[in-house]
Symmetry: D2
Subunit: 356 residues, 4 copies
Amino acid sequence: MSSTFGNKIKISIFGESHGGGIGVVIDGLPAGERIDLDAVLAQMARRAPGRDKTATPRKESDTPKILSGMLGGTLTGAPLCAVIENTNTRSRDYGELLSKPRPAHSDFTAYVKYHAANDIRGGGHFSGRLTAPLVFAGAVCRQLLERKNILIAAHIKQIGGVCDEGFDPVTVDGALMARLSRSSFALIDESREDAMRAEVDAARLAQDSVGGIVECAVTGLPVGVGEPMFDGVEGAVAKAVFGVPAVKGIEFGAGFALASMRGSLANDPFRFKDGRVVTETNNCGGILGGITDGMPLIFRAAIKPTPSISQPQKTVDLRTGENTVLEIHGRHDPCIVPRAVPVIEAAAAVALIDLM
Amino acid sequence: MSSTFGNKIKISIFGESHGGGIGVVIDGLPAGERIDLDAVLAQMARRAPGRDKTATPRKESDTPKILSGMLGGTLTGAPLCAVIENTNTRSRDYGELLSKPRPAHSDFTAYVKYHAANDIRGGGHFSGRLTAPLVFAGAVCRQLLERKNILIAAHIKQIGGVCDEGFDPVTVDGALMARLSRSSFALIDESREDAMRAEVDAARLAQDSVGGIVECAVTGLPVGVGEPMFDGVEGAVAKAVFGVPAVKGIEFGAGFALASMRGSLANDPFRFKDGRVVTETNNCGGILGGITDGMPLIFRAAIKPTPSISQPQKTVDLRTGENTVLEIHGRHDPCIVPRAVPVIEAAAAVALIDLM
Amino acid sequence: MSSTFGNKIKISIFGESHGGGIGVVIDGLPAGERIDLDAVLAQMARRAPGRDKTATPRKESDTPKILSGMLGGTLTGAPLCAVIENTNTRSRDYGELLSKPRPAHSDFTAYVKYHAANDIRGGGHFSGRLTAPLVFAGAVCRQLLERKNILIAAHIKQIGGVCDEGFDPVTVDGALMARLSRSSFALIDESREDAMRAEVDAARLAQDSVGGIVECAVTGLPVGVGEPMFDGVEGAVAKAVFGVPAVKGIEFGAGFALASMRGSLANDPFRFKDGRVVTETNNCGGILGGITDGMPLIFRAAIKPTPSISQPQKTVDLRTGENTVLEIHGRHDPCIVPRAVPVIEAAAAVALIDLM
Amino acid sequence: MSSTFGNKIKISIFGESHGGGIGVVIDGLPAGERIDLDAVLAQMARRAPGRDKTATPRKESDTPKILSGMLGGTLTGAPLCAVIENTNTRSRDYGELLSKPRPAHSDFTAYVKYHAANDIRGGGHFSGRLTAPLVFAGAVCRQLLERKNILIAAHIKQIGGVCDEGFDPVTVDGALMARLSRSSFALIDESREDAMRAEVDAARLAQDSVGGIVECAVTGLPVGVGEPMFDGVEGAVAKAVFGVPAVKGIEFGAGFALASMRGSLANDPFRFKDGRVVTETNNCGGILGGITDGMPLIFRAAIKPTPSISQPQKTVDLRTGENTVLEIHGRHDPCIVPRAVPVIEAAAAVALIDLM
């Protein structure tokens, strides 16, 4: 495992879905900064399941307990450790899962890599629940960024066949950022909510699940963040974002659309505006040569459909060596995309703080 | 800067386009392994410009000189250092570029970040020429991988509006891999070459450039490579691939297409085949939970159009503080996508060796 | 702060003396290994105060709670997290310490570095109590080492003016190692105990403290451990050992005595013995060129006297800007050297596991 | 191997004694800083052999060639690479050494670790010659430190039985620092030179070698440098200094002498002096809790006698499996301690820059 991120700050995430607790240690935060814990909890609430009918039925009590690094609301300079106790450690029978890996889950690869010793209950360390400590870390980091007027917000760009409009990459609006970063179903065009929920409901009724895309914007970044070649902004953000289970792609600025563009169109012209250098378009997503150029940082992450579905699925029985069929009982979250929004924001926050 | 990559091996790339030389130090390679330098040179030749009419006019003499780490063709265990001398250190007049940043280039961000002290000649450390040492490193690493029957090959998936077919993600053929990994214009369906070259020529005639997509496959990986959460295969490969200038997106397996898929379709069913666990489809791109599952690793990288074009472009004059127009004289490579193929392969090789 | 150690494994220590809890996350341990928690607790008991009349009066309840990474006594492959709750979070009045730094303590440097936001209660993150999670980590690591017949044991080489004999560096005895590694007042020549305790008592009666030297041996290491130049055994062990508060020096083999030796005496002659290459002497401490040579690894760590003493001491008042005198009330541990023995062993275990 | 150092800057040292060349890549240096190459060369000359009758007979031409990272004397922000060509690549017959490891050398451990593939000529990567690139890196770093009034100087504290006086740890004099940092036989009490040279000559005449101690001081450090627990000043400096071959011990401040001291003597009293907090004594060596306290940083490194001596020595023949005797012909440097002075300074410079 390497659930550790960062160079200037070091983030270490621990826990398993049904173990004693999950949490995070953040080493290297600046002493003396005040942290608004209510704002942290608000971010964690956006990620928590059970707030919304699109969410997983499990009710989590995700209130983190701060063990160190904060005194009277202020960072002490010592590693910040937050622990979230697991209240649901009763396990239903996972016996079948131990030998019948769920398709598209980590069951099979973890079984081989960890010599069948991994804690499979609830997905163990691979559970989406492990994104809770990441959101905690991101919520702390984004407060530090906000003091430099750096704002992070994401929205649901797509669920199944339904799309939200995209950020205007040149003029990302502060009020929009503020609204999105508090929303639990974050959309730029809020009129798309019903169609998206219908997409999710259709998947649920079909005992199926559905994927989507989260688009994230970061405004207020100064020129000069990023350490190319290998700690450029794209690489650093990608490493953090791919730490989020279910992410299978990331693109910056115009991304894959650049493949069919000509340079004359793709190249963002420089202009002076109010004494500052800006670009007229933002196909590069605010990054040139791996370094921020002062325009909004824009990226999109592809989220695969939740692998847990109630339909019978073809799999193998590792014990008997035979092909078989798996049925996973119980209710499953048919779409994690809305809850992935604050997680992707958190990953961006963590990556950016580490570069600054 | 942070032109350093890796944990188990440490790769440090140095050089500027028109400085004394470029090169790489690779620390942590296994002693006693033989390296076929001709095979390394063959990989470097695939990347070198001037071999092909789609390429930049500059002729490079990219023969690396091994300064340490190899004796009689065998790795000694000491850091492997290869240096490529720059023969073309005469600089045309870069005076204008110093104050007029080229759109979509690193000129502006490097100017701010490095306090105008960066070597702008030929793009300095941001030059595509710096991918030569990466290809050297990758060529060494892929030889070590090949001894474990791990093969890496990529092809031009798209240039502008013309597409090659994709890898069959389940049954990537060894003969195809071998052919592609030697090709300087790597296509699965070779009949697409004329159409692609026409796309490049059209861009050249228009004093323009064009982008594309490189698709890469890795076969023979054992189950269990990858260290989630943050050094999972996706994150590690992405960090290396985003170290390649011009890459603006990466996706694994079905990637962004997963956004509109249902889980019942996206989940790759497990089956036993010849005593081994395989999947019937490969939408996950050979990675489950950040760990290889034994199926081919498949990813695609989006390459933006070469920013250097001969058309007049809007930019700013940093010296005078005024908006202006920039004309870049000389011939430019209208499409780097064919030469990006071995570079992307090299990035994958380096990332995978580091995880094994 | 950077309370993070390791490359192959990542150890992150958190906590403050009087905060909610202290603990450690260990990422990268091998899945499937059984851990004997009783043996871990036995090591922690050796470090804990209050077991011995030489120790600090505070009674700690240092039973760690495993939050993740272990299931049914077996490592799962996920990060191992252990938390020790702080029961003594009532603080006596630290008001004076806030402005009057204790000589030889971190009070002054932490005050400046952490902008007076550091948690000064009980020394905060600088407390000797933070060695408890290090001993936990070391106790886990040494179990993994013991399965390869690698044993670690240390003894009190010196307290004040009283010395124990040293390890025979060539023939360190297994029975001796076993005895020392369980002892709470570890001596090779147990007849020295009374004289050493008298040294400690004399310091206590004088409201003073006294320093010492811990000598550590590691047997059973294979030839070839260590990654020179900068992760050689000396550097790696030193980095871990200097992570222990109060350590001010480290030497390997004959160490500083080599300064006055001739090469003809210092060079350890090689001999074949029972088909194995050994050395007749062991002035190099089992390390040649930063790499283990198969002989016992021997090093010594200098421990400064406990800075907390009850005598009035000259210090400054940071609030008033005036010179003043500080009196620290309460009882203090006049000698931490006996309790430092298992901590130094733990640091060695952690450093060696990371190199293997 | 892991010849890589640093977190904020990354230093990668490469080369083998008789290979094509040796050198260093330094990634992360600040752009825009001017580097005085003559001052760098002056430092390298202090380390180079052949300048002094105590030195090895080999004449090195150690003029480094800057390949990247510097333009017109100014750092560009790209990785700084310096290469020193090896002119003496003709090798005498090393055949015997291949099977008869020199006592106290890395021959045996490197043979095992690197599967007999290591370059044994001249010691390969383990040669003292590899300290030349370290001195280059240190000379660059100390220039950056000097701009903040941080000065580094060391002296020969001891050779064999002859000692120089020590630094006054409280009042290290700037003029003394300047003199020492230019000296090729650095002594505080220069009248000790004859006695020390006699010690070296006596060893030479006896076909033997002799060890010593280098003491280093760093003045002008601000309060607050160091990242405990594991990147505290002691640990960071130790890791760099143990990267220097032949170093077997390091101690800070009063070091091992603290073992026999009482706290009332060892604790350095704080006082206000000229509005600044100072300590009346400096037994802690300028470091409290792993963090600089504004007093001079003082440490000593133990250097073992040069292992290469002309006397016959007992060793083994790895080929035949028999005990044998080795005679090393040719002239050998009987004492590297004078030349180790600038190397230890360089290691300190590199470690401190990385912490700042």
